[in-house]
């Protein structure tokens, strides 16, 4: 997906060179820094913002923690965090605005009788504490854990939400959402995760603590396998003109289409 996106960006850039700068040039630039999981959504927003206003946009994929620090130290205009700010971070004069919610669906084979798991059980399954479907009300067969490769935003999201960082006992690590869905649809004992937007009918999305993953349940927080994509700004300092324009643009309803296209649920 990322490659396709990069190709598209390249194509857009190449085209904009060909058309000879149709958009009016304006001074100023916006710098963002932070979460690598937000690369796709912020990249798409930045690209369209740049095309519309001519203000240059940069994004530095460093990770949520570094992004928050960069705002504190004034090294960037807007920090990107794929988790809520901690209380002590808020105390240092940082404000958080939720841009979007990243919902992760837990998927199983349609033949699997299990249709609901709690977040705690999911974590236990992925860490290898529960190894048989019969322990969670399913058939007597070993659970096959399907995950994503190291560095994937979905994996990072899933592991941080379930608190299973670096301890998941994956049976297969696949490199795309499509591969995860295909593999789960092929194996009755498999369980996997994928971003909610990309789940197809060939697999069954589980309800988590009794709540199904839909745009509404993700937005109101009742579906728990989700995390916010947060824009971090200083509460005392004012944003530069360009950064303010960007902030307004991406939090406006106009940006929702781009945000949805990036596979996450817009918050505004």
């Amino acid at each position: 997906m990322k490659k396709i996106f990069a190709l598209m960006m390249t194509a857009v850039l190449a085209l904009s060179v060909l058309t000879g700068c149709g958009s009016k040039e304006e001074a100023g630039s916006v710098t963002t820094d932070g979460s690598t999981s937000m690369e796709k959504v912020i990249g798409a927003l930045g690209e369209s913002f740049q095309n519309e206003t001519g203000i240059s946009f940069t994004y530095n994929p460093t990770g949520s923690g570094s992004g928050i620090k960069a705002v504190q130290e004034g090294r960037c205009d807007i920090g990107l965090s794929s988790r809520d700010l901690k209380a002590e971070e808020k105390e240092t004069g940082l404000g958080a605005t939720v841009l979007a919610y990243d919902g992760i669906a837990i998927i199983v084979n349609p033949e699997n009788p299990v249709s609901d798991l709690s977040l705690e059980t999911i974590a236990k399954i992925y860490t290898g504490e529960i190894v048989n479907w019969s322990d969670v009300g399913g058939n007597d067969s070993e659970i096959v854990l399907i995950g994503r490769e190291a560095g994937s935003g979905t994996r990072d999201g899933f592991e941080s939400i379930t608190d299973t960082e670096d301890i998941c006992q994956y049976r297969q690590e696949l490199t795309s959402t499509g591969d995860v869905i295909t593999t789960v649809s092929q194996n009755p004992a498999a369980i996997g995760y994928a971003s909610v937007a990309s789940v197809k009918d060939s697999v069954k999305a589980l309800t988590v603590d009794g709540v199904a993953a839909t745009e509404e349940t993700i937005k109101d927080g009742s579906y728990v396998v989700q995390r916010p994509f947060v824009l971090v700004t200083k509460t005392d300092g004012e944003l530069s003109d360009a950064a303010f324009k960007f902030f307004t643009y991406i939090t406006s309803a106009d940006a929702n289409e781009i945000i949805s296209a990036a596979g996450v649920v817009p918050a505004n």
Binding site: K2, K3, T36, P61, S141, E142, I143, V144, E149, A150, G151, S152, G153, D156, E165, D166, Y170, R171, Q172, E173, L174, T175, D179, T182, T183, Q186, N187, A189, A190
Partner: protein
């Protein structure tokens, strides 16, 4: 006359230039790989890198041990050779010596077709048929395993082995075989006692070529091997090859992780250089 000589020289120059492009590419890739592969090895330590049993590149405390990948690549390739070479070799003997011209031409075009199938297609068919098949046949929880990768690789190396062996067997002088037959040996005795020994370095080269193809394959094995960075202790285990270790993580990687991936590529490159050297050795011997 002078004009002709001039044209000759110009054309000679053009050919030289075209040849240099190839050499240039090889040099560029080699130099680039060495330059980008060395820093991570230096930082991690050669011993820890090559013999570390754990790979966890994005963990809090990253571990960069590629022994599981090296062993998987070796086992996977060896397995593919064990299955693929007997089949390929026998096919070659049959096609070169026994088959009627009609059968020979039909089967040879089938072999050529097999060589032309893109590796992603092998991977896809493996993922949709072989992996569920292994799961059901051996009643294991999941079929994506070293075994699946070995079978896919064995099929993929068949065309190189068959074609190369046929060439070697066809090149055995007919007089050798005639002499053997005249001495009273049966045709099959002749093929195995005379033709095959006479073609043995060509057949060895075919095997080495198969090894090279198997160790360098990424796409097909990525789709059937499961890609978990386990030590290959069982053929039903999910494993990661050297090639897939690089390709599965490179798109999101950064920092030391990315450098380590280049180092893996460098290790793979050295493996392939070794194999090429072996191939050249056998080919040279065949000529002599």
């Amino acid at each position: 006359m002078r004009k002709n000589q001039f044209i000759e020289k110009v054309i000679h120059g053009i050919f030289l230039l075209l040849g240099l492009i190839t050499v240039g590419c090889v040099l560029l890739i080699t130099v680039y790989l060495v330059i980008s592969g060395i820093p991570a090895i230096r930082e991690i330590g050669l011993i820890d890198f090559l013999f570390g049993k754990e790979w966890a590149s994005t963990a809090e405390e990253p571990k960069y041990g590629i022994l599981p990948f090296i062993l998987t690549s070796i086992y996977g390739t060896a397995g593919a050779i064990v299955i693929g070479v007997p089949i390929g070799f026998m096919t070659a003997v049959y096609l070169s010596k026994l088959a009627s011209p009609k059968v020979k031409s039909t089967m040879q075009s089938a072999v050529s077709l097999l060589a032309g199938i893109p590796s992603v297609v092998y991977g896809l068919v493996g993922m949709l048929i072989l992996v569920p098949g292994i799961r059901k046949l051996f009643s294991v929880p999941d079929g994506a395993s070293l075994l699946a990768a070995i079978i896919v690789l064995a099929i993929m190396i068949l065309p190189s082995i068959i074609k190369m062996s046929i060439t070697a067997l066809d090149a055995v002088p007919k007089e050798y075989e005639d002499a053997s037959l005249a001495l009273g040996a049966t045709p099959v005795e002749t093929y195995f006692r005379v033709s095959v020994p006479a073609a043995k370095s060509g057949i060895a080269a075919a095997v080495v070529l198969g090894v090279g193809r198997a160790i360098g394959e990424a796409m097909a094995v990525m789709m059937v091997a499961g890609n978990a960075a386990n030590m290959p202790n069982s053929i039903f285990q999910s494993v990661r090859f050297l090639t897939t270790a690089v390709s599965s993580e490179i798109s999101y990687s950064g920092g030391l992780q990315r450098q380590a991936l280049f180092s893996i590529a460098l290790v793979l490159f050295l493996f392939i250089m070794l194999i090429n050297a072996a191939l050249n050795f056998f080919l040279k011997r065949e000529k002599e």
